[in-house]
Subunit: 271 residues, 2 copies
């Protein structure tokens, strides 16, 4: 059983955004080993069809399973929204997506029962957050807005740029008209733009980081399944990507909030 | 020979941007049949490594060859920059990329022999335009700037948005300092943002659209190889993509400048 507990948590994402979830995991569980896979050769998933995302997700999870993980965190809102069942079917082990924890945290936070969601076009079109929220509280009203430019703005590091502020203001305007009091950052890239999003939202709106909410849920699952790593040693964090563009490590360390060490290329999906 | 002349010109791109090249081709050659393939499931190529782009290019060209084309236009600056040899090796027929025609048009235009190039990170890092320009005129000085946000801004239709103007101004600033008099739009998405780019560049700088320059070169090649379609009928334009996101046709028609008709999904690269 000790050997099983020491196995890594597997985390995967369409690219680099899931590193904000790894960041939340390392903050909450400083002794858990982690294997991360980012499908950087085929990123982004958020603008692709559900069918293609499901095909890619099946290939991604196979890679993690080959690395002998004890649990899988789907650190990609798009995959969590449209392909979580594919991952669960393949995995035969505990699987957590980012949608349900984010939805639960938002329902817990809202006072006026009006929740906003921002995410990629695929995540928003899937209505997965709205569905998860209404499962918890059918009285909550949900308003959503796709923000396709936030991912490139985050990756380019325009975190406090005037252009980002302008675009954030436009994206959030329809949600503010709906008098939301809680806003889910429904894409793992968005915590990087948190300051700009918070400024556009104003102080009356609580921001919910789905990745951070997911880390809390991982803690519950580690306890209920008795899978928490008892080691007090520095953990082993390993990073794999399907392509290594020049800027991966630079951008990745900004997302992860720490040094990444070696990043290796993994052959996934026939490339 | 007539049958050969009536075969379509094959055009491929990493996604939707190549439709600006198809637009230029249809303007110049209103009777040529065209088959277009956009690898929308794996777009963008511009942030990927040369190795991955070469693997994808080989798969893309195989698809066009299966559609019995008479000539291939690589309407993707990234592929033209890092994988034109792969395409030429596979094709066994005339192949034109967008780099050499764009470079030639810029050398023809410059008066002070100072040319700027904007493109994706992959295109800029490849130095393919600089190499092509110096092959034509070794005295020309070349200054380049990657503009990674232009592709998402073009695809989101923020053509005359203040955020686009701000970002264009920042991207072009280092090139203006170098006193360029000619600027190559080294990415097929950029003609969509031409107004914003022209405003940031100012009236003293001539913009060169590589796609339009390529269409002129296709004309020369059709004549020298005697492959021009003698038909005076309305041509057959066929569009294939590896994924069909919701917005493809809407965005595509803005790039193409006309209605697209049916867009079909093609299985390329194991998906």
């Amino acid at each position: 059983m000790i050997a099983l507990r020491q196995k890594p948590i597997g985390v995967f994402d369409s690219g680099i955004g899931g590193l904000t979830v790894v960041h939340a995991l390392t903050e909450c569980f400083p002794h858990e080993n982690i294997v991360y896979f980012g499908d950087t050769a085929r990123v982004p998933y958020g603008s692709k069809s559900p069918q293609v995302v499901r095909e890619y997700a099946a290939q991604d999870i196979d890679f993690l399973l080959g690395n002998d993980v004890k649990m899988v965190v789907v650190a990609c809102n798009t995959v969590s929204a449209v392909a979580l069942d594919v991952v669960q079917k393949h995995a035969h082990m505990p699987v957590i997506g980012v949608i349900v924890p984010g939805a639960a945290a938002a329902v817990h936070s809202t006072r006026n029962k009006r929740i906003g969601i921002i995410g990629t076009r695929a995540t928003v079109n899937s209505r997965a957050y709205a569905h998860a929220i209404r499962q918890i509280d059918p009285d909550v009203q949900v308003f959503s807005q796709a923000c396709p430019l936030f991912v490139p703005l985050a990756e380019e590091g325009l975190t406090d740029h005037q252009a980002t502020a302008l675009i954030a203001k436009e994206y959030l305007f329809p949600l503010l008209l709906e008098k939301i009091d809680t806003l889910i950052l429904g894409c793992t890239h968005y915590p990087v733009l948190r300051t700009a999003i918070a400024a556009a939202a104003g102080t009356a709106i609580t921001l919910i980081d789905s990745g951070a909410a997911t880390a809390v849920e991982v803690g519950h699952l580690l306890d209920t399944t008795d899978l928490r790593n008892p080691s007090a040693q520095k953990p082993n964090l390993r990073f794999f990507v399907s392509d290594i563009p020049a800027k991966f490590t630079e951008v990745g360390e900004r997302f992860l909030g720490q040094r990444m060490g070696m990043v290796r290329r993994a052959a996934v999906g026939g490339v």
